[in-house]
Symmetry: C2
Subunit: 590 residues, 2 copies
């Protein structure tokens, strides 16, 4: 059975050595001194190790049961959810005006990694709830906020997001669910939504659905969509639970993974809904939720990989198989797997990704705090550019790393009871939901890259440039800064290619979208590794008490620079290759 | 529910346009004219589509049941196996002296692809049986051959291979199963074997286990191992079934995939066994079986990918989602997925791999026929070099392609009932069993590369060189031959690096083993695509009746050359990078 321990040492490093959070001029960051963040993350780690992780494998095996519209989550889930709620974890980064603790989003993200790694399926119930919280907080009326937020923040009520229908996933313009205005200002919602995570369950007394639907007068396509609040139980004047609303789960899906999370088909049969935000501006409101959810899925990308890696490393240290040269266990029957260079190479690949992605994601969360708490438009533009990378690149790579971790176990990795298969099956969904990764790539090249005249990507290049210029003063930084410079140059060439080719040959450009996503992902991780190398050199110069940690950081940074960052050249070659062969075949030829 | 249609057109192309099989000077190849191969493959395709493929999803869902040592395969499996047997498919490429049809191994491989693609779990029962057939055929006494082969060839008896034990998978030197010589010349076999595919089932009246065990006097490690025939039911003098032998399945594993195949733990409790081949030379005999099994697993790599791709392509043609530019369905609510360049890019990636791997594998099978039927030592050395590539590279890439095919389905790909998850879960095992892919890489760089002074790899380079020289006469070949030349140069540089670095720094070399495997895999597929381009140009020049097929080949070849073959540079960069950061960390740091 797999185990999980929160990577507190590395989280500390990212928060304090890399980001220097307590010194940042963001409201609330002043409190984030090492002792405080350590206390929070240690407590989260304890809950993760003791309560959430032990339910991960059992939740996978048992799955959710569905009977007559009622969903029973796996044994132990309701109790564990109660502990999450009572520990105040749902309220962590919520608005104190509604009972939240007001900590930065950054801390919510760090805690989120720990909970996801321990039990992704269970944590999804609160992850989506948080997205809905933000949407209501941002777009709701004062009355709506007063009605819903306190009970959401307390964890008494969970939330869902309802976009997908049988005929449309990506293409929300095809949504058919109707919203009919009623005399009392409410709406009657009718239609079928599918793939609704946590659409029904036994963890909370109420479930608040946010539903994208079509109200009269909005026109066709996405322009006609509005967002509605549809509670499972309607709320009384006094704020208590009223009558059952006409929304019901009509089935749950048998999925490849995340078995502990109920994925429901929801039937809205004239359910009572309340407009959230402006009429016919549902997409805008939904994007608040989606952008946050995308960062959350990016966290899943490396959090599950981290959990899988921890178990692979433990297995590689223990399992004796074959002789290495030199032997590290000459007195034993064989050497541990980790003594074999190919195994070690794989573990280093896994480590370079998970630590790099952690740094990138927490930097992204930091930028979100800067945008929301300081109103910094440049930070907002930058994190908006990074969001598809954090979601798309990190989940592609996270899956790859999880598969690599499973591979370390040989045949034992294929046996369900050893738990590595579950990590792979769970990790797979992150590449698909909240916008499949192909959509993330299109969002990046089709929307984010050229937004505002390309300002955000220019800012990113400036950031790399000034970092490299600064690093140039320290010759020890050359092994990190030089490859970063080369990668950034590849990214620039690719970006120029996109911006210049797009107007005349959109098909060709779009065929390189996924490669651009990965080129940019590699460059982002290259930047993070170069920054981490600088932070570790500084720590060593300052006589850190933990030189082994920082030397390992430097070695992992060199591993990333020499073995992973050169992938940018391959992606660039693909991007600039003619799309002619790719577009040549008629559809019938496939 | 997924469907499968045998790729008869492409198989015809590989056999006749690419390999020109009927003109080859190999015993039995003269019969392989297009009408004959077409008839066989059409018949195999019919069985695959009508009988095997419909049981694939149900076999996955139902799995094997285990009760008191008895295994029940999923509903329909026994009947389908009877049809495979009665169709003479097991006997296809077996020796006529024992009831076989004597067709080349090449044809067995082509048929194997079709059956694996339709139902991998079911086909494994006969796949391993074939490996045991070859081992007994090669190493057995005349009496053993007469006793076992006719009933194996007829399919009345199935076979297994028993290597792995709880304490050893890769490192067979740690095997503990004992073989004690008896006065009558037989042996008493005692020990536990795990992960035995088809160790027990209800498809055949008897199961013949080939068991690696340790007999007295052989010393430690792999040198002390011998191979034994251990029938489930002992055979009477008359050749019928005698008493039940002391071998029993004690559990079956719950696996990530291939649920229809029973993976058993086998307990040998003083079972009667018969030495196969020479005493203490068990490894040599086992390698006959393993090499064949490795080619078979390489087939699984692209066969499952082919099945997944067919379903992804069908979905991409049907599913309407989003608007492409230009639109291909302006009158409809949206364009089919296939109109979107990123989807098409993915389908082209899938196609370039499956068609390339099919060509490489059938070329490998062709070389095996040349080696075994003509005694061609050079062909044997070359296919021995290619075997780890066919197994390791093709299953890594095959899994990647299967995941890409699943991705085309978006959220629907994650739902078990749509069948794409099963392809992914099934494909995963091929990277692990018959020597995990890391072991394939070590076999390639540690054994095959330097074997006989590097003769085989030199022959491979000569082959590429003379191909490119010939192709130079036709300027239309430049887009195919030039990238191949560059890739081959990368491979040469890497090979030289390995051969020169290995003696002084083995750890560093071994850390690049997996990259070398992939570098070589890409180059091999590059060679196949350049050859296929030449064959299609020749067909077009000759006024083929099917220009669309050949133009699609050329486009796919260009896609491979521009988007995939450049990966060799990345692998070379990793191989020649210092392994210092990778070896730097103490094991405890992981």
């Amino acid at each position: 059975m797999p185990r999980y321990t929160a990577p507190l040492r590395d989280l500390h490093f990212v928060l304090h050595d890399l980001l220097g959070v307590s010194g940042q001029d963001i409201a609330g960051y002043g409190d984030l001194d090492p002792a405080f963040t350590e206390a929070i993350l240690t407590e989260a780690g304890r809950l993760a190790t003791d309560v959430l992780a032990p339910l991960n494998a059992t939740g996978d095996r048992e799955g959710c049961r569905f009977e007559n519209g009622v969903v029973r989550t796996p044994a132990g889930f309701p109790e564990a959810y109660r502990k999450i709620r009572e520990g105040g974890w749902i309220a962590l980064d919520c608005d104190p005006a509604y009972g939240g603790q007001g900590l930065p989003y950054l801390m919510g993200t760090a805690v989120g990694e720990i909970f996801v790694a321990a039990n992704m399926a269970l944590n999804m119930y609160q992850g989506l709830t948080h997205g809905a919280y933000s949407t209501i907080h941002h777009h709701g009326t004062d009355a709506q906020k007063a009605t819903y937020l306190p009970r959401i923040v307390s964890g008494d009520w969970a939330c869902t997001m309802n976009l997908t229908e049988p005929q449309c996933g990506t293409d929300l313009g095809l949504i058919r669910t109707r919203a009919e205005a009623q005399a009392d200002g409410s709406y009657r919602i009718t239609g079928t939504k599918i793939f609704i995570s946590g659409g029904e369950h036994d963890l909370t007394e109420n479930i608040i659905h946010l539903v994208l639907a079509r109200a009269a007068g909005g026109g066709e396509g996405t322009k006609g969509l509005s967002l509605f609040i549809v509670p499972k139980f309607l709320i009384t004047e006094a704020g208590g639970l009223g009558p059952r609303n006409a929304v019901r789960a009509s089935r749950i899906e048998g999925k490849m993974g995340i078995h502990g999370n109920a994925t429901c088909q929801m039937d809205y049969d004239g359910a009572t809904g309340f407009l959230l935000g402006d009429l016919h501006k549902g997409m805008r409101a939904m994007f608040t939720m989606m952008n946050e959810a995308r960062i959350g899925v990016g966290v899943q990308g490396y959090a599950v990989a981290e959990a899988a890696m921890q178990n692979a490393a433990a297995y590689a240290r223990d399992r004796l198989q074959g002789r290495a040269n030199p032997s590290t266990n000459p007195a034993g029957p064989a050497d541990p797997l980790i003594a074999h260079p190919d195994i070690r190479r794989s573990l280093m690949d896994q480590r370079a990704f998970t630590e790099g992605a952690r740094a990138l994601t927490l930097w992204g969360a930091n930028l979100i705090d800067r945008a929301t708490r300081q109103g910094d438009a440049q930070a907002e533009a930058l994190v908006s550019l990074l969001t598809p990378v954090i979601k798309g690149f990190q989940t592609d790579k996270g899956f790859e790393v999880t598969v690599a971790a499973q591979q370390i176990f040989g045949g034992h990795g294929y046996i369900e009871e050893n738990g590595m298969s579950q990590f792979v099956r769970d990790a797979r969904i992150a590449m698909i939901y909240e916008g499949a990764n192909g959509i993330q790539a299109l969002d990046l090249v089709g929307r984010k890259l050229g937004a505002d005249g390309g300002k955000a990507i220019m800012a990113f290049f400036d950031l790399v440039k000034s970092f490299c210029a600064e690093a140039g003063a320290d010759p020890r930084m050359a092994p990190y800064a030089d490859p970063l410079k080369a990668a950034s140059k590849d990214l620039q060439t690719a970006a120029m290619h996109f911006l210049s080719t797009a107007p005349k040959d959109p098909q060709s450009v779009l065929s390189g979208a996924t490669d651009f996503l990965h080129l940019m992902g590699h460059t982002c991780l290259g930047l993070m590794w170069a920054r981490m190398a600088r932070a570790s050199l500084a720590a060593l110069d300052a006589g850190t008490a933990d030189p082994a940690f920082h030397n390992a950081k430097l070695a992992t940074a060199r591993h990333y620079m020499t073995r992973h960052l050169p992938a940018t050249a391959l992606h660039l070659a693909r991007i600039t290759a003619s799309a002619e062969p790719l577009l040549d075949l008629p559809a019938e030829a496939f």
